[in-house]
């Protein structure tokens, strides 16, 4: 008997968190159930918009962290940091 998949199952499927047997079963179900497929595509679109958000720290922040790591290694003690 086919399982009735919920929105939660679709989320788990998208993020690869369903167990293997259910993953295989849902993949087949998505191929033959157009309504479920539509629901899934809808959800993928929603999640995809999150990918447009990506903030990056400044280069100076990264350099400060690396400088700290090097100084900490050399001296075995902490150094003070000043922000750029």
């Amino acid at each position: 008997m086919t399982k009735n998949y919920t929105s939660n199952d679709l989320l788990l499927y998208y993020y690869g968190e369903l167990d293997q047997a259910l993953t295989n079963d849902l993949a087949i179900e998505l191929l033959r159930n157009s309504s479920l497929q539509e629901q899934y595509n809808f959800m993928v679109q929603e999640i995809s918009c999150l990918n447009t958000l990506s903030e990056s720290p400044s280069d100076s922040s990264v350099e400060l962290v690396l400088a700290y790591a090097k100084a900490n290694q050399k001296n075995g003690s902490l150094i003070g940091l000043t922000h750029p």
Binding site: S7, N8, L11, L12, Y15, E17, N41, M43, Q45, E46, I47, S48, C49, L50, T52, L53, S54, E55, S56, P57, S58, S61, V62, L64, V65, L66, Y68, A69, K70, N72, Q73, L78, L81, H83, P84
Partner: protein, 194 residues
């Protein structure tokens, strides 16, 4: 040694043996996820830069002290460190950090991109990104937390549930509500997805 082919866990081990190139690679791989997670919590770029630096200092200290015993994902743990520092900071100042107008940085990045691509398309893309950013920033706290932990920190819903003290179904429900909220508001603003 080609660092790009080494797993996060092995990079951690290399760094613990004083290989700083391994730390550099870990930062290169995950700086955007970690910084985005911090930024979405504090809503302030300058403060996010400070917390990003402090988080990595704590990460470095923990790794070097040998107290790192995470068997799971480095990035999930790193975001957790950053999140805890952020919460500590917000508690310390005892007030919400207001959304500041970060026109300086954002406008600059927009102008740089606009030089190389179609201006009109880039304006639309930029406006959409700003709108989505604002929508995520304005999500109810518990929904925003799940979105950040799942999408940027790459924690599983099970891990999120354990970390936030709710059931897996509640964590999943919050994610669904967050996505529905974003879609609804984008649709009201006549921004189309996909």
């Amino acid at each position: 040694m080609n660092m790009q082919k080494i797993s996060d866990n092995d990079l951690v081990k290399l760094f613990q043996k004083d290989n700083n190139a391994a730390l550099e690679e870990l930062i290169r791989r995950h700086k955007k996820s970690i910084f985005t997670a911090i930024y979405l919590l504090v809503k302030n770029r300058s403060l996010a830069e400070d917390i990003f630096q402090e988080s990595f200092i704590k990460i470095i200290q923990t790794l070097r002290s040998g107290n790192y015993n995470e068997e799971g994902k480095f990035v999930g743990w790193a975001v957790r460190v950053a999140r805890n520092l952020t919460i500590d900071y917000l508690r310390k100042i005892n007030k919400d950090v207001t959304i500041t107008d970060s026109q300086g940085n954002d406008l600059f990045s927009y102008l740089v991109v606009a030089e190389t691509q179609n201006k009109e398309d880039k304006i639309i893309q930029y406006q959409t990104e700003q709108q989505i950013k604002q929508l995520v920033l304005n999500l109810p706290e518990e929904q925003k937390q799940v979105v950040i932990l799942r999408h940027w920190a790459n924690l599983s819903f099970k891990e999120i549930a354990a970390q936030t003290g709710v059931s897996v179904n509640t964590a999943l429900g919050r994610m669904r509500y967050a996505l529905a909220n974003i879609r609804k508001q984008l649709s009201e603003s006549q921004v189309h997805l996909g």
